[in-house]
């Protein structure tokens, strides 16, 4: 898979938040074989100058995808993106502009405003967006080559709530990198995303909140691979009624002669 002209062998993008420890985080990323991991920003703590998280990041052969989590308007998201570019030395940005705390759904109007500004400023924008085709098309018109529609609310683990919309996006935007971001709960959700022909899956809570995040990271890695192989192999069309798989011709006790 190519993202922003970068060749990647993994289609599993993993978040780094809310793991039981930095050691488990590091091993989960290794187990996932993810090549892109999401990160965020925080105000520095003046009591300690060392940043152990940075030390973990430096040990991993992963590209960083900083997010703008916690931003509720375009201006905050734009400024956060620019700070992230300084800290992480990358023009990649996972652009999140949240509408409200209850749903954590994207504020699409502010998202579009911020996307326009950031693309003109040289960023590669990975917008966290709704699965609405018209919004996605608008983001593409602004120059997005990658879209990250939600599967269901962030951290809910509800999986894919609107398969119709996701399938429509895949059909209508064949040249865009589509990544489901948010709402994935179990490996079968991720596999289903990949079977639809999506390019990749981004998730965090489903691994970090698992009883064993390292094992769950491996489960997702395998599910994502399986889903992709199935998509490429060509999944049979669904039928309304049974179709016998064993040929009936010349069965024993058949009344039909040879």
């Amino acid at each position: 898979m190519k993202l922003d002209n970068i060749e990647l062998s993994s289609r599993f993008l993993l978040g780094t938040a809310a793991y039981p420890s930095l050691d488990i985080l590091q091993n989960a990323i290794i187990s996932a074989e993810s090549e892109v991991i999401t990160v965020s920003l925080t105000r520095v703590k003046f009591a300690s100058q060392d940043n152990q998280f940075f030390e973990v990041l430096n040990k991993l052969p992963c590209r960083l995808l900083p997010n703008t989590a916690g931003c509720y308007c375009a201006l905050d998201a734009i400024n956060t993106a620019k700070l992230a570019r300084e800290v992480f030395n990358t023009s990649w940005i996972k652009l999140e502009v949240i509408a409200d705390d209850y749903t954590l759904q994207p504020n699409c109007l502010e998202l579009i405003k911020a996307t326009d500004v950031l693309i003109k400023d040289g960023f590669t924008v990975f917008p966290y967006c709704t699965d609405d085709f018209s919004i996605c098309q608008e983001l593409v018109n602004l120059g997005c080559k990658i879209l990250m529609p939600m599967g269901s609310p962030i951290g809910s683990g509800q999986g894919l709530l609107n398969l119709f919309n996701l399938r429509l996006l895949r059909d209508k935007l064949p040249s865009i990198n589509l990544i489901v971001d948010a709402g994935i709960g179990c490996p079968s959700d991720a596999s289903q995303v990949m079977e639809l022909g999506f390019d990749a899956v981004l998730l965090n809570s489903a691994v970090s909140h698992a009883v064993n995040p390292i094992a769950m990271a491996e489960a997702f890695k395998l599910a994502i691979k399986a889903g992709r192989i199935a998509y490429e192999a060509g999944i049979m069309p669904k039928r309304d009624f049974a179709v016998a798989s064993t040929p009936y011709f010349n069965r024993p006790f058949s009344k039909q002669g040879i």
């Binding site: 990160v39 920003l41 940043n51 992480f88």
Partner: protein, 69 residues
Amino acid sequence: MHNISIILNGISYSLQERTTLHDLLNNLGFNKGNIAIAINNNIIPKAKYLEVWLQENDKVELVTAFQGG
């Protein structure tokens, strides 16, 4: 030399006037490779830290890497 007061990550912070961002980071003991700074909502590129003088009541955001989803 007089002291000035800035708001550093939301907290009042006193420093000598004619202090650059570079001086501030040195005083705090931070490696500029791991951080980014905004003053009054303007992001300051690292190359400018030696040239930017802090002013009375500047609102300074000093950020670093954190876990994120």
